[in-house]
């Protein structure tokens, strides 16, 4: 019992000093195209709120208008008092402003979504911040297991629902993708009451952006099945062949044991048995 008590007090004293900053952006609904809180950023906020005893602060850099303000207030509705807003012009590169703000506030952990839902959405911003600040960065954060002595043990989400355990040195940046737990609902009242803490920062105009040509996405051409053959007969056979069907092995009139053995062999070959 005393061992337990000391453990919790240690983790509590560490956690209480844990500063987590979540970088949030303005999202856009994929169907209605209305502005909203970005899905992955909201998941990052959810993950920060689930950390025991962490003090969570939110930071957004971008232009100011009523639409965007409403979207940012969506994050306030998750149970947060204020969001730091760094005002930038619409064509600005937000990385220098964010790096400066993070360098001043010195959080231990910075969470953010993998990529934005508007603009270039290349997903490079967290890496640029990590490079500018000299912090390590990890992707696909699924859970924070514990934080102690300047390191964090986290679970990273891999494809196919697998998880990998990593130990990272703090301060660090972690991005969150759609394998993180879904965000809680945003409540209307707290969203209206929350405070937007405006900060002024000079905007660095992104000049490359002006040279790009941006248009609504075209449908990608579908790749045709290419048949390389010298004989017209083979090409015709390939073109006229029915898709799928056949090729499978059917075990008829076998005992359940023989059937099970065949299935077991296939499962073992595919390597799905642990």
């Amino acid at each position: 019992m005393p061992h337990d008590a000391s453990n919790t007090s240690v983790s509590h004293s560490n956690a209480s000093s844990l500063n987590v900053t979540v970088l949030v952006s303005v999202g856009r609904h994929p169907l209605t195209a209305r502005t909203r809180r970005a899905d992955q950023d909201a998941r990052a906020v959810e993950m920060a709120l689930m950390l025991t005893g962490a003090s969570v602060s939110l930071l957004h850099a971008g232009q100011q208008d009523s639409d965007h303000e409403e979207a940012i207030r969506g994050y306030l509705g998750m149970g947060i008092d204020s969001v730091g807003l760094i005002e930038q012009s619409p064509q600005a590169d937000v990385v220098p402003a964010l790096a400066k703000a993070l360098r001043e506030s010195t959080p231990q952990l910075v969470l953010t979504g993998t990529r934005a839902e508007t603009g270039e959405a290349s997903g490079v911003t967290p890496y640029l911040l990590a490079e500018a600040l000299g912090w390590p960065i990890i992707t696909g954060l699924a859970a924070v297991e514990k934080i102690e002595q300047g390191t964090a043990v986290v679970l990273q989400a891999l494809p196919r629902g697998k998880r990998r355990r990593l130990r990272i040195r703090l301060p660090a940046i972690a991005t969150v993708d759609s394998s993180a737990p879904p965000a809680r609902q945003s409540a209307f009242g707290p969203a209206k009451r929350g405070e937007l803490a405006h900060q002024q920062a000079p905007s660095e105009i992104d000049e490359d952006l002006a040279t790009w040509h941006i248009q609504p996405a075209r449908k990608r051409p579908k790749r045709l099945k290419i048949v390389k053959s010298s004989s017209a007969r083979d090409r015709f056979k390939a073109a006229a062949a029915k898709a799928g069907g056949g090729g499978g092995q059917t075990l008829n009139d076998v005992t359940p044991e023989q059937g099970a053995e065949a299935i077991f062999k296939l499962l073992k070959e595919e390597g799905v048995l642990r």
């Binding site: 290349s122 697998k162 790009w212 996405a217 790749r223 076998v254 059937g259 077991f264 296939l266």
Partner: protein
Amino acid sequence: MSELVRRDPRKEWIARNRLHPQHLEVLAELGGGAVASEWMGPNGVIRRNPHAAGFIGPNGIRRVDRSGVQQAAQSPGRSVESKDARRPVAIDTPAFMVAVVPDMTGGRLSSHDRDLLGLARQLADADVTQPGAVLAIVFGEHKEIAFGEAGIDRLLHLEGARFWGYLPELSVATLQGVDRETAPRYWLLPDSSIGGELGRRLAARLGERPAAQVWQVEAETKSATGWRCTARGAAGRNDITRALPRIVMALAECADPVSETRHAAEPIALSHGLPDMLRRIEDMGEVAVDPASVSLAEAEFILSAGNGVKDWDSYHHAAEVLGATKGASRVAVDDGFMPRDRQVGATGTWVSARVYMAVGISGAIQHLQGIQSCDKVVAINLDEGCDMVKRADLSVIGDASQVLAALVARMEQYRAEQQENRDAA
């Protein structure tokens, strides 16, 4: 066997002469198989095999010439050897380099990697007088043998105990060393979970502005690099057209894979050693996850039950023993045996499992749509003619509960063997 064609003019002459007493035997002999087309049956009736008539033409098609003029003019039965038609290409003094970092999922070049190498070939071969070389950088162990056929001229293979596990910082520092040494004109990476992360790290390290989610690259004389690329932006809603930057992260099917040439895949090594660095990210290994908690859409191995399952306890037990994620057909869900979030198919979840095992599912078209992207399908069913059996790679016709019970027994035996081996070791 010799490739030389031995002709027997006498036999050819007999084959042309329908009145020759040996005509049929010779024809059958030249026809490849020793099947005579006419023979005397046991009751004294001439039997005729219509399939043995004619000869195999040069394109592998059977030709029947009723006039008898041209019969067996060609030496038949000689199939054209499938010669490797790839043209070997060696680029000794490349004008520039195009570096590619393939994902190598499962130790082999994935189709995404091959598409990317096709794109690299386009960039390297644009100017015939000054061809560039494609350099591939492969981390860790691999099982690939056909690097040259994928279009790789130079191969930098970094192996050893240092490259085991998840080492993003070491990888990017190594790529930085490669950049310093060979100064590739372009860096191409697949925009997947592995390559996308590495590419963004590299871009941040080299201070280049990359293009992500590129799906098209075209020649353009007006742009600074001679190329322009089209990339998806704003979560796939916009297309951004811009000059091709130095670091490109491309989507699958960005170009056609190399199919007509074979390249040298000459191994090279870094002249400077690998960087020694402080590890800020430490890999502590993969964690075993509960298969039941994995979402159906990304599960690797699914045991799916349908109307044919009567003994539900044994089904749940089998799923636990096999370590499979549970799925269900619409009928099983509607009847209340399985929760709605486990439904596979058009109205449920579209799954992408490596192995999908359908127990007692006949295979409605909506269900088959949902399992389109599964690699291997195993069916256990009583009805041999059902659509699921047609789709399946392996089907066992029999009672579901008996086969499942046998499979559970086999699995337990396997576990016991494993345990013994571990104890012995």
